[in-house]
């Protein structure tokens, strides 16, 4: 298993958002989690990536983790290329590998022309692409995406699925959390998070 979560529980005051949720993913899998706004989807992801602590339960992740949060968390005064350099240092990617991966991602998601632009001068959709590309930069074994295609145009949406399918065939486990899934057939499994439990 690449991801194994056991009995994850989390409450905010009296509001029990997650009630002993079990969840696991193996290689080459694509799972989706849907749920209403405030159902605890992002909370579950934040616990899996280690941003928040669960009140109860254990999480085990094997391999490299790629995480694309719901909010495009980027430095407004750095350029696109500077972001890749900064996050490459975090991932421990060497310079030569960084160049080829950056070129590939910029080409695939069609934002090469913005490589020297500062983040605060780009549109919301472009920022979403950059945020996603950062999560893909180190070729993760487990990819966790929180509402990844919000703001994508149709072409980028299709490119997103192309890339995701390619990753899946390479053995990557992909977890997509969204409030709306239109193409269920793309997923191996789709869970519904409701009343603190996955069904």
């Amino acid at each position: 298993m690449i991801l194994k979560a056991e009995n994850i529980a989390k409450a905010f005051g009296n509001n029990k958002v997650l009630k002993n949720v079990p969840f696991e993913m193996g290689p080459s899998s694509l799972y989706g989690i849907v749920g209403e706004n405030g159902s605890g989807k992002s909370t579950l992801l934040k616990i899996i990536v280690g941003e928040w602590k669960s009140d109860h339960g254990t999480i085990s992740v094997k391999g490299r983790l790629g995480y694309c949060p719901q909010r495009t968390l980027l430095f407004s005064r750095l350029t696109v290329e500077e972001h890749f350099r900064y996050f490459a240092a975090a991932y421990g990617i060497e310079k030569t590998a960084l160049f080829s991966r950056t070129e590939l991602l910029m080409h695939h998601f069609n934002f090469k022309k913005y490589r020297s632009e500062r983040i605060d001068r780009l549109s919301g959709g472009t920022l979403q692409k950059i945020s996603l590309a950062i999560a893909l930069l180190h070729q993760p074994d487990l990819l966790i995406l929180d509402e990844p295609y919000n703001g994508f145009d149709w072409d980028t949406y299709l490119r997103f699925w192309d890339y995701t399918n390619h990753l899946k065939t390479e053995g990557c486990a992909i977890l997509i959390v969204t409030h709306l899934i239109t193409e269920k057939e793309r997923f191996d499994k789709v869970y519904n998070l409701s009343d603190g439990q996955l069904t």
Partner: protein, 254 residues
């Protein structure tokens, strides 16, 4: 600890700092505003005053303008550095968290921020030190600049504490300016301090030792060793507290 990560972090933080217009504007406007205020209001009248860290019988005599300029050098450095430190650590803290999720150790990020802060302190202290020296003759310029670095160190680390602790920008700025204003901008003024009824409280405020070291270096030949030593001690205490708060906030909760 990974040197590449620290160096990359340092270079990115410095790039972000110089690209913030408010930072560059404050570096130019605030000292000029203070200097103009003193130049327009202070007189050349000679005033005797005592320094708390020297013997009670020692009186220093200098023009009101000279004292005000030196005091405002301290206040300026304290204000500017604490504001910059707050900005360094508070703005983009969510993105820094993402960097930690991607592999940065919180201490690597903190060290990058601290190195940036030290560079800022160094530059501001030299800039303000030389600027003031153009208006008033400073007895020991290097020690005077060193004293300004000490106030920068103490107030910079205070800014780091507030920035690590407080999420809201306005609340952070309020807390930084509140203490900086009361302490370094008012109570440590030697003209106020000399006549204060209860100067015990003033001695326990963070700007006390650094401002003493600046004023001693500016107007006397006495040693600044004690004042500098305690300044470094207080600054280091603040630094350790800020490191612990930052680490606790940034670490992965697994």
């Amino acid at each position: 600890m990974n040197a590449r990560r620290i160096i990359t972090g340092l270079s990115m933080i410095l790039k972000m700092l110089v690209r913030r217009r408010i930072i560059l504007i404050s570096l130019v406007v605030i000292p000029v505003a203070f200097l103009t205020g003193v130049e327009l209001t202070a007189s050349e009248k000679i005033i005797p005053f005592r320094l708390a860290s020297l013997d009670e019988k020692i009186f220093i005599e200098h023009s009101q303008k000279g004292i005000a300029l030196v005091f405002f050098a301290v206040a300026n450095t304290g204000f500017l550095v604490s504001f910059l430190a707050l900005n360094l650590i508070q703005i983009d803290s969510d993105v820094n968290r993402r960097l930690v999720i991607c592999g940065y150790h919180p201490f690597e990020l903190l060290i990058s921020n601290m190195l940036s802060l030290f560079l800022v302190i160094f530059s501001i202290a030299i800039y303000i030190g030389l600027l003031i020296h153009g208006f008033v003759s400073i007895k020991h310029l290097l020690l005077f600049i060193f004293g300004l670095m000490l106030i920068g160190f103490v107030y910079g680390c205070y800014g780091l504490i507030i920035g690590s602790m407080i999420k809201g920008k306005l609340e952070g700025i309020l807390l930084v300016f509140l203490l900086a204003n009361i302490d370094v901008g008012w109570l440590q003024n030697p003209m106020y301090y000399a006549e204060a009824h209860n100067n015990i409280i003033i001695r326990y405020l963070p700007a006390y030792y650094p401002s003493q070291s600046v004023i001693i270096a500016a107007f006397t030949d006495y040693s600044v060793f004690n004042a500098a030593f305690y300044s470094i001690l207080i600054g280091s205490g603040f630094l350790i507290i800020s490191m612990l708060i930052f680490y606790n906030k940034m670490r992965l909760k697994k």
